[in-house]
Each structure stands twice: as C-alpha cells, then as structure tokens.
C-alpha cells in the first residue's frame, strides 16, 4: 500500500474512532453507571440525524441563508436542494450554524424520546426495559423510512458538512486533519463532562441503583427517577453525537444508518473497553473501530473480487465474538471501573460545613495514633 493510502486510512480510522468514542461515552452513562440496557440507542442517534436533515433542508435556509427551505419527498426536491447545498458551500459560517442547531435540536429531541420510551418500563426488570427500547428503536427506524418529509425516505440525502477549509488554510494542513482534531476535541469535551458528572454524588447514586436497587431505595434514592435522569443525559449526548456523526463524519443521512446494529456495536465497545469507565469506553471504541475498519476492507475485497457476498457481513462476527469474549472472560472490560473520586464525607463537609458523626471517633483515633507515634519518635 502506498504511503498516501496508509495516511488516509489512519485519518479515516481516527475520525471513525472519535465518533464511536462519543457514542460509547454516552452509552456508558446508561449501561455502565446506571445499569440500563439501552438497546434502543439507534433511536436516539437517529434523533440527531433527523435533526440534521431537518435543519439542513427546512430550518437552516430561512435562519442562516435567508432563503426558503424545501421539504424533502416532494417533486423536484433534489434540484432545489442542490441549489441550497451550493448556497451553503458559499457560506462556510452557515454550515457551522447547521451543526450547532442540529446538535441542540437533536439532543433535545433525543432527550424527550429517551424519557418517553423508558417511562413505561422504568419500574420493571431490565429485560422489559431492553425489549421496550429495542422496539422503540425499530419503530423510529421504520418511521424515518416511511415518512419522506424527514430525510427523504430511503435515498441518501447529502448534508452540508461543516467547512474546515478556512482553519486548514490557516494551519497549512489538509482539511481531514482539522476534522480529526475537531472530533477528538469533542471527545475531550464529552469525556470531561462525563468524568465530572460521574465522579459526583449523582454518579454515586447511579451506581448504587445499578448495584443494589433495594438498598438504594432504602437509602432514600428514587430508583425510577435516577434511571430516567441517566437516560435523559445519555440520550441527550447520543442525540448530539448523532448529529455530529451524520454531519461531520458521513456528510449524508439515510435511515439505514440507524439500524439496531449500531446500538449493539456501541454496546460491544463499552463491554470490551470497560463498563463504567470513560477511558475504557474510548479504548474499546478505538480497538473495535480498528477491527471494524480492517474487517471492512478485507470483507469488501472478498465480496467484490471473489464474489463471496458474506464478506460484507464480516462485522457481525467481529462484534458478536467481541461481546461474547468480553462477557465470558473479562466482564469488567480492558480498563476496569474505578471507585468514585468524591467520597461521600467530603461532599457532606462541603455542603454542611461540619464533620459527619460517624467520622468523629475515627478521626479522634487517628489523631491519637499519630500523636503516640510522634511521641515514640521523639522519645
């Protein structure tokens, strides 16, 4: 393979890995911390994708370009939409506006859907929740395929991907490098937010609910509400990540990007990387994205050159075996879960300004021990 091929492979891989990292961080909040089997992740990613399509064709033109938007699905849609795309290409700032708007709208839609789909089964056992979410995702997929006014049915709709050229020209590097840097910057933001949130009393509450529902309830934690909160945060992040996925990474949108397969791919990444550990989620995403890319290259070559059609489905066995091996041999993942960084007593002191009662004798004893040791040293 020539050098250029290797470089472009690495850049493409890094960009895929960044997008998958975003998604697996959001999945980890639900599966890793709150113990919710979110088998409907695809629906929340699709919310971001649908928001991107709506903003690009219908909301964006009047708000950002000052021209009338077009509704997909109608006659002559593609001709009008191509004119819009040309207008976007002339205004790099407008493409960034599309990205920001889609992230916000997608996140909010995903959050609402997350609460709606989780609510019926939030009090029940996790298998019911998984079934309900899986069905919801499948239904969202079918609605996106059937309703041509969202993203034009089953045709792939090209999206105005954010324009990196001005920045790239400034730094004297190719566009793709800036794109990869931008995506990894977003991963850093997600990581920072998730680390902050999960190393807080809220994160500890989620873990308590996951590990022992009854004990958490006995301690006065509202289990259904905690689950709904986790779903809201996870779905919001998934909606944002979905908008980024279609706008920045793929630059087009099609309902078939949101098949349930993507849910399980991300689940596999979380399982392999580390359940309940953000760094683990990123590690899993990077590892499986590499296997996915290599598998894709081998598989498509098998399919096109040797006529072995199953090559196109090689990713099933990659992810399937990854899930089974991870659960069977290393259920905690490559990077295991770490204790929460804020001990409860520290939060208690911060909030009330006094030492919790259970700590007083312990500290008194520690103080006396320390004093005795000091006395021994001096004496």
């Amino acid at each position: 393979m020539p050098v250029g091929g290797v470089v472009s492979f690495i850049l493409a891989y890094l960009s895929v890995a960044a997008v998958y990292s975003l998604l697996s961080i959001s999945m980890n909040i639900e599966y890793g911390w709150a113990g919710i089997p979110n088998f409907g992740k695809a629906a929340f990613i699709a919310a971001g994708g649908a928001a991107a399509a709506i903003v690009a064709a219908q909301l964006g033109p009047p708000l950002l370009l000052g021209v009338k938007g077009v509704v997909p699905g109608g006659l002559g849609f593609f001709a009008k939409y191509n004119a819009l795309l040309n207008a976007y290409a002339a205004h790099p700032a407008a493409t960034w506006g599309v990205l920001v708007l889609s992230c916000i709208i997608g996140g909010v839609i995903a959050m609402i859907l997350g609460v709606l789909f989780t609510f019926p089964a939030v009090r029940l056992r996790e298998d019911y929740l998984a079934i309900a979410l899986l069905m919801a995702a499948q239904l969202v997929w079918i609605v996106l395929r059937v309703d041509k006014q969202i993203m034009g049915g089953t045709f792939s709709m090209v999206l105005p991907s954010p324009d990196f050229t001005p920045v790239a020209r400034l730094l004297h590097v190719p566009d793709t490098v800036v794109k990869v840097l931008f995506l990894w910057g977003l991963v850093a933001v997600f990581l920072y937010y998730s680390e902050k949130l999960m190393n807080s009393p809220f994160g500890r509450k989620l873990r308590a609910v996951r590990d022992d529902e009854i004990a958490a309830e006995a301690l006065g934690k509202n289990v259904p509400v905690s689950r709904l909160q986790a779903m809201m945060i996870g779905s919001f992040l998934a909606g944002v990540a979905g908008a980024i996925y279609v706008l920045v990474h793929l630059a087009s949108v099609n309902p078939d990007y949101f098949l349930p397969d993507i849910t399980f791919m991300i689940l596999a990444m979380v399982l392999v990387g580390g359940v309940g550990n953000n760094w683990g989620a990123i590690a899993g995403a990077m590892l499986l994205a590499l296997m996915d890319r290599v598998g894709y290259i081998i598989g498509s070559r098998l399919a096109t050159e040797y006529g072995m059609l199953w090559g196109g489905y090689l990713y099933y066995i990659v992810y399937g075996l990854a899930i089974i091996i991870a659960i069977a041999f290393r259920p905690q993942g490559l990077v295991p879960e770490k204790p929460v960084k804020t001990p409860a007593w520290r939060v208690y002191i911060e909030e009330t300004g006094e030492t919790p009662r259970f700590l007083k004798p312990i500290w008194a004893r520690l103080r006396s021990l320390r004093a005795r040791r000091k006395g021994k040293k001096e004496g």
């Binding site: 089997p37 069905m135 919801a136 609605v143 899930i323």
Partner: protein
C-alpha cells in the same frame, strides 16, 4: 374476502405462536431474555431451503432456482420434523456452550441478555455465510399449493401447516409438561429452581430439554412464517427472524413473560391485530410496515398497566366483574 383474510391472520398468529411459545418455554426455566431467539427462527428458514435442496440432490438450486422446488405442498409437511430437530440442536448447543457456563458462574441477567446479543450476531453471520454460499440472500415468497376451496376461501398448504403445527405443539407441550417426568421437573424448576435442585432434579438437563424444544418450535415457526409471508420487506431472508423478533417479544410480554398458554393466546390476538392494522394502513395508502406500532403499543400498554400479562390476570375476578357490570346495565342477568 374478509374470511380469507381472517384465515390468513389466524395462520400468521399460529406461526407467531410457535415462535413465541418456544421463547416462553425456556424463559420460564432459565429466565434469560434471549435476543438470539430470532436467529433460531432464521435457522428454520435456511434449514427448510437446505432440506428442499437436499431433496433435489443439490442440483440446480442456487439463487432463484430454489423458488420452484421450495413451493410448499402437503407432502412437504414431514420436512418440519427435521427442521424442528435442527433448530432444537442449535438452540440447545448455544445454551450448553454459552448460557449455562455463564449462569453457573453467577452472571447477572443483564449480562446474559447482552451475551445473547453477541450470540445473535455470530449466528447471523453463520446464516449469512450459508445463504450467500447458495446465493439465497434475496428470494421471493415461495408459493404454497391450494389444498381446498371452501366457500370461496382458499386453504393453502402453508395455512394448514401453521394451524396444524400450532395445534400439535400445544397438545405436545401439554402432554409433555404433565405426562412425562422431565416435563414435570421442568415446571418444578420454573416455579423454584433452588428447591427443584435440592430435591434431586438435574437442573441442567431440564433446561437443556426446554431449550431444545423452544429452539425447535422457533425454527418450525420460522419456516412456516417464511412460507406464509416470504422475506421480510426488502431485507435478506436471513433477517426474517430479526424482523419477527419484536412481535415475538410483544407476544411473550402480553402473555406474561414465561407463560406458555398465555403466549399462545397473545400470539393469536397479536396476529389478528397486526394484520388488520397492516390492511387498514394499506387501504389509506400508508406503508404497511408501520404496523410494527401494534406490537410496540401493545408492549408499552402491557408494561404500563399489567406487567404480569395475560397470565397474571385474575380471570375469575374479571368474569365476575364483567357479569356485575352487565347485570347493572340490564344486560345478561335481567
């Protein structure tokens, strides 16, 4: 042709009942929400095509050439027995190789559920491998011969097969769980696994048998569903099981997760509702695939209002209550 439509919906419900009651059967003893169940269904489809190919000596059967030999006739009914055994073996093998070791190690239900997803992917890849080796990824619906026409209603071999098999399966399971030692042990394990084990029941063997029967029923139901409805939309035939997985889960949830008879009843109800809604959607010029909203809505409603499903309802109380209501309204009694 309302009667024809009802018959078709009933047969559809019967095929769904076969698949869903298989899941209910082993869920009751192992408590595993197995998402790989859809793949056992697809195993039935591929097994049917391979058996048909075997009958023709594997000559001239690749691609669309299989469609004519795969025409379902009454003399192909015995083929369902080997399909049952193949599906059962696949299911029992996955239980023994993956689920049982994990259950023995004390994995949580959540982990078992997730591992079933991994299994689903692996099985699906194997099915894709076989189907693409024969070039069977996309096939039209195999025809089904008309046996009799009663009052303008055509009874096809596929419809007869589904209804007959659902009946046989019900009788078989009823006899099995009451008349045989292992079936009685199965009910004991379903009620209280700890107590059953303490009284000397081989829990592994009981579960293995339950998974064998469950997977076998799924495969038979899958083959019949393929004959009735053909491939799932425009997706490859291998994904038939996946596309039917959601109605299957809806039927098991409505039947009260793990109840065999509840699932049977729920499947017929869902079959009628699903096909009726598809027809209505088609009438209004909408896409019939939106009918998936029926199982989804049913599941959500069941989860919200009666999580125990049909099996958890107190039928006697419901009957008395209804009687009171009707008597009050001047109905039945007066």
């Amino acid at each position: 042709m309302a009667l024809q439509f009802w018959l078709y919906s009933f047969a559809w419900g019967a095929a769904l009942a076969l698949m869903a009651s298989g899941l209910a059967l082993y869920y009751s003893v192992s408590k595993v929400a197995n998402f790989a169940h859809g793949e056992y269904v697809s195993v039935g489809v591929i097994a049917y095509l391979i058996l048909v190919a075997l009958l023709h000596g594997f000559k001239n059967i690749t691609g669309f050439n299989i469609v004519e030999p795969a025409r379902f006739t009454v003399d192909k009914l015995p083929l369902l027995l080997p399909i049952f055994i193949i599906g059962g073996l696949v299911s029992a093998a996955t239980f023994a190789a993956v689920f049982w070791p994990l259950m023995k190690r004390g994995s949580s239900p959540l982990q078992l559920m997730v591992v079933s997803i991994g299994l689903m992917f692996v099985l699906r890849f194997i099915l894709y491998f076989i189907a693409s080796a024969f070039d069977w990824l996309t096939l039209p619906t195999p025809e089904s011969s008309v046996i009799a026409t009663i009052g303008g209603v055509q009874v096809t071999a596929g419809i007869l097969g589904s209804l007959l098999l659902a009946l046989i399966a019900t009788i078989f399971v009823a006899w099995f769980t009451r008349g045989t030692m292992i079936g009685v042990s199965m009910r004991a394990v379903a009620d209280n696994p700890g107590l059953a084990e303490a009284s000397g029941i081989n829990v592994f063997l009981v579960q293995l048998v339950a998974w064998f029967i469950g997977g076998g029923l799924a495969a038979v139901g899958g083959a019949l569903m393929f004959i009735l409805t053909g491939p799932p939309g425009e997706r490859p035939i291998v994904e038939l099981g996946w596309m039917d997985l959601l109605p299957i889960f809806a039927a098991t949830v409505l039947g009260g997760l793990g109840s065999f008879y509840g699932t049977l009843v729920a499947s017929f109800i869902l079959g009628l509702a699903f096909n009726e809604v598809s027809a209505i959607l088609l009438n209004y010029g909408l896409d019939p695939s939106l009918a998936l909203a029926v199982p989804f809505g049913v599941t959500l409603a069941v989860l919200l209002f009666m999580p125990e499903g049909l099996a958890g309802l107190n039928w006697g109380r419901l009957y008395r209550r209804l009687k009171e209501v009707f008597r009050g309204a001047g109905g039945w009694g007066s």
